[in-house]
Symmetry: C2
């Protein structure tokens, strides 16, 4: 694998960018073996080929053919169908960068031809608008034209970075040039109902050096929040158009929109150095984490409007937690991590990747969750294809999540490590290699199942430099050993070791992943009087199939938790056992009683088994819960 081309990943800061840390090229950080490689292989071998089939079935390809005039037919599906192809092509591109593949290359070539053919002579491209002879940008709130353009640009940038081929990038720059000539003060003044173009334009600037794209992104960021998105269906907060971004104090409205926008704002900061944008982004992020984030890292609690709720409105049962919102959250946190170097952003990325992003994909790689509830009751009604009670689905009529998962897994290596002038930072732990011009680190670990991370220095500059290793916030009691000598470690954040490293030096980080009970703020109804089980970075849940009683009726007792390796289960997991009680409760009369007057239920002692939340719903679908009431005091 060492001969892989080094290609810029999803974020490649310009040389002049304002940042604390700098990302490494793909291929320079490389996942090899272990937990995430297993997911990446499934993604490449199952999910992405399935995506090709589904995109053909759903009409996404045909829509482009009809737009190109090479097929007689009618547009099928929602207005944003093009974006699904683009996201899938982004995944295909990163995969080609990871390892050559005739099939992948052929898919990219075919799609690029089709997209080129559909593009209009002035650069505009949108199969819905073109096949409906609709006025361009007549429906900025809901038309998704700039949203689709953003995904085209991201795919084009990925394709160019991974393959060096300019064809798709040419399509994207023609379109972006058209947009730069169309939008702006004194021209068409407006923003897209669904942010996405902002971060894409900044990356296109980084790829091409053309500052017009950065300036257009700046325009879209500045224009937002002035209620340009007039419509009868949604209030302006839905579109993040209620207040100017620099005044925003929280994340609000449609979660994916809010977070793609926030990522774009942070990108604009990085390239413009406008500190008011960074300050606003940091403020919003803090408020999101403190009041609008699930234990899983999932965000966007409301089905209604796929939106952020009010502070502490984090229901487990009707949680929305769209998989795309988790992905967008990772994108945003990554940009803030680059900007600031603060571990809190990497902490949230880890939490989100394992517990809000990964649940979106089945172990088989062929089925997807759109919505990631933290509880499914035994008698839940299932009235919507997105309802978790249906289990993961092969595709959706709005198919944003599946290809979004694919492109994220295909570029996951990007998020592991960074460099700065002092040295190398490891943010996420996975088996593999981290290389720079002068450094090479080999990482061995069975993380997240095991907390031991071993690093060998395989190349080093001939001078003192600092190796920074993130200590996750949950990892109390972490220890660090260098060449067999135990070091004192900082309590949280990064443990930083500055020395004149030698080839062959061995660092061992031990993160205590023993299972633990987690409690929450009583202002959150879903967690008050309840606890969750976590182990290392993983959030656990109770699935009905593992329990001797109805999951809905179980309460925990505060006794030691034990864990057990189960290589046979769910592709190989560590399960956690807990002591519980189950009380038969009546379903008769109102479920309210005079306080203190409840008849003590006859409680039966049981042993409960928890599995990682990401792996739920890969067997028989039944009741599931992350938060479980406690039988006595604990939090």
């Amino acid at each position: 694998m060492a001969d892989q081309r080094l290609t810029a990943g999803p974020v490649q800061l310009s040389d002049a960018a304002h940042s604390s840390l700098r990302p490494l090229p793909l291929g320079a950080t490389r996942i090899e073996g272990g937990f995430w490689e297993q997911r990446q292989r499934t993604n490449r071998e199952v999910a992405i080929p399935e995506g090709a089939t589904r995109l053909n079935e759903a009409g996404n390809y045909d829509n482009l053919r009809v737009a190109a005039g090479t097929l007689d037919g009618e547009y099928r599906g929602p207005v944003y169908q093009d974006s699904d192809i683009y996201k899938w092509l982004e995944a295909v591109s990163w995969e080609i960068g990871r390892a050559p593949s005739e099939q992948l290359t052929e898919w990219l070539r075919e799609a690029t031809e089709l997209i080129s053919a559909a593009q209009q002579t002035d650069g505009y491209l949108n199969s819905y608008v073109q096949t409906h002879d609709q006025e361009r940008f007549a429906d900025l709130p809901f038309g998704h034209e700039l949203y689709c353009a953003g995904h085209l640009i991201q795919a084009a940038v990925a394709s160019h970075r991974a393959t060096g081929e300019p064809a798709l990038l040419d399509v994207a720059t023609r379109f972006a040039d058209y947009l730069a000539a169309t939008f702006g003060p004194g021209r068409l003044e407006g923003v897209c109902g669904h942010p996405e173009i902002e971060t894409a334009l900044v990356e296109l600037f980084r790829e091409t050096g053309n500052a017009d794209y950065l300036h257009l992104a700046e325009y879209f960021v500045d224009a937002r929040g002035h209620r340009l998105l007039r419509n009868d269906h949604r209030d302006s907060s839905y579109f993040q158009d209620r207040v100017p971004l620099r005044e925003a104090t929280t994340v609000e409205g449609h979660a994916v929109r809010a977070l793609y926008l926030a990522a774009g704002v942070t990108d604009v900061y990085a390239e413009s150095g406008d500190g008011t944008l960074l300050a606003a982004a940091r403020r919003q992020w803090q408020h999101m984490v403190a009041t609008k984030t699930y234990l899983t890292g999932g965000v966007g609690s409301r089905w209604e409007g796929e939106a952020f709720g009010d502070p502490y409105e984090l229901p487990s049962d009707v949680a929305y937690c769209e998989t795309c919102a988790a992905i967008a959250s990772v994108q945003w946190s990554w940009r803030l991590l680059l900007a600031t170097g603060e571990a809190q952003y990497a902490d949230l990325i880890e939490r989100t990747l394992y517990n809000a992003f990964l649940p979106g994909l089945s172990l088989s790689g062929a089925e997807f969750f759109y919505v990631n509830a933290l509880q499914l009751r035994s008698d839940a009604a299932i009235n919507d294809s997105r309802n978790p009670g249906n289990g993961r689905r092969p595709w959706f009529s709005t198919a944003c999540c599946p290809p979004n998962i694919m492109r994220t897994l295909s570029s996951l290596d990007h998020y592991l490590a960074t460099v700065d002038s002092d040295g190398v930072q490891l943010h996420q732990y996975a088996a593999g290699t981290v290389r720079t011009d002068q450094h090479e680190l080999h990482v061995s670990t069975d993380y997240p199942w095991d907390g031991r991370v071993e690093i060998e220095i395989a190349a080093t500059p001939d001078a003192e430099w600092t190796l920074s290793l993130r200590i996750p916030a949950w990892a109390e009691g972490a220890t660090l050993t260098i060449n067999g000598n135990k070091q004192t470690t900082e309590a949280a954040d990064y443990t930083r070791v500055s020395r004149d490293w030698q080839v062959g030096d061995r660092i061992r980080l031990d993160l205590p992943v023993r299972p633990r009970f987690t409690a929450g703020d009583p202002r959150i109804d879903g967690v008050r009087g309840a606890v969750a089980i976590e182990r290392g970075p993983l959030v656990y849940c109770l699935e009905q199939t593992d329990q001797p009683a109805n999951v809905d009726d179980i309460a925990f007792i505060d006794e030691p938790l034990t864990d057990e390796e189960r290589p046979d289960l769910l592709g190989g997991v560590t399960v956690v056992h807990a002591s519980g009680v189950v009380a038969a409760k009546p379903e008769d009369g109102l479920p309210y009683h005079r306080a203190g007057a409840a008849a003590a239920p006859v409680a039966e002692a049981i042993t409960v088994t928890a599995v990682p939340y990401f792996a739920w719903a890969n067997r028989e679908i039944g009741a599931m819960r992350v938060w479980t009431p406690i039988a006595g005091p604990l939090p």
Copy 2:
């Protein structure tokens, strides 16, 4: 008042009806003075006149004029605009029955003329369909044509009962005859997306004796649940069209639809004697009460689809609890009470009237809640006119709730008492008179503020009969005194006294209304680890304006509750004081922590003041909560 005409109320069973109890005419049960008369006066003097203004402003009248061809213009508002006029006319009619009024009579006459003029020659009538030259019943799922017809019929029955005038009833019977000739096996086979016509047709049968209407209601009931309502937007459970009614085990889908239908099903049982319908209705009601009903009696927890949630999905903050659903619940429970004579139905009616229906109306009578959440956070975003954070509104674009409140208050006397062959039953306590052909009871009480209810026998047959007085489920320790002699009372249900009553006999029932803490089933996230305050039939809440600290941060301590009469406050209420603590909590970092490791917050002791929930949001709108976390063990 004793000279008021006796007029049948909303439900008047046929002579052959299957029932345990029989309703009394309006005027025979009569609220005079006290809590509810105050609301009825506001309704007559403020709400109903406001309704006339709002209906004119919103175009409801003009729509009928355009349909009649007497006005050139365009239809305004949603498809079900006609129904708002009908519900308001029903209120106007009951008010005319309660006491003469030139203005009310003129409104009824004018509207009746307008409606007659809009009716088509074959009896069909719907201003939306007529003004759009749309095919009749082409959109049964969403067209609301039969829904509007049902409200027309209910208004017509009320108008006929209250005034004796046949004009509006003639319109209704012409339409109903048309419907009976149109729908049914071998004719147009279908049901309305929004139930309502079923209960209306049974009442029209009762008023006219024409069995065609009963049979049409039976057809609609039998046809439902066979997925006739095909559409792309909602699954069949939304319309209660997923399973045949006799197989239904729970209430599901849109709450108002589900409950209007359930009332109609119970009506069909009463007139057909089909016990399978009653059994299904009772089963559904039990499951609703045990798993889908808020402490307030409110039902329908989801904004999405205005629908029932899953069992125990009863969030306080995003509760929907539409005011119309509370009204529909009362209608259904009343019909089950008549059918069975069981106190549980009257208990739910009481809880719902005080705590789920009444909050829909401002103390001024001019503003309305559509949605009745049990919690409003201090920093809640307000993005929808229905959001409680906006306070009550003068009207809504979908204005179902305001006139529904009006017609319910205007006919509230109907729900107080019944008769059977053994005697008289008092179900709800209000100052006033209850008369039958042979009995007359004068009831004096300051209920719900005071638990003492005094009844004087003013007329009695010359034979032993039974006076039954409901003991609410909350009223532990109730005592009964007859002519000064204390009686033994049954623990719950009805206390029944059979004797040879004499004119002048005095009965005194003492219901202990002292404030109490109520706990709930820990399966309900919103109530786990929390308590509510109740006093008598009233649910209380904390409003921000009464507290020395942020409502969001308060926790209760288990100490005696005290109450205080406050004639100056909110039109005269009794408030409840409780001991609490308030802890400053950080908004920094994730709101989760290792169980047992939370830093003990610095808790400040405070005194908390609770007001009746029905009266909230009549002052400055701020944070409010019904359920408050507890600082230590209690439930």
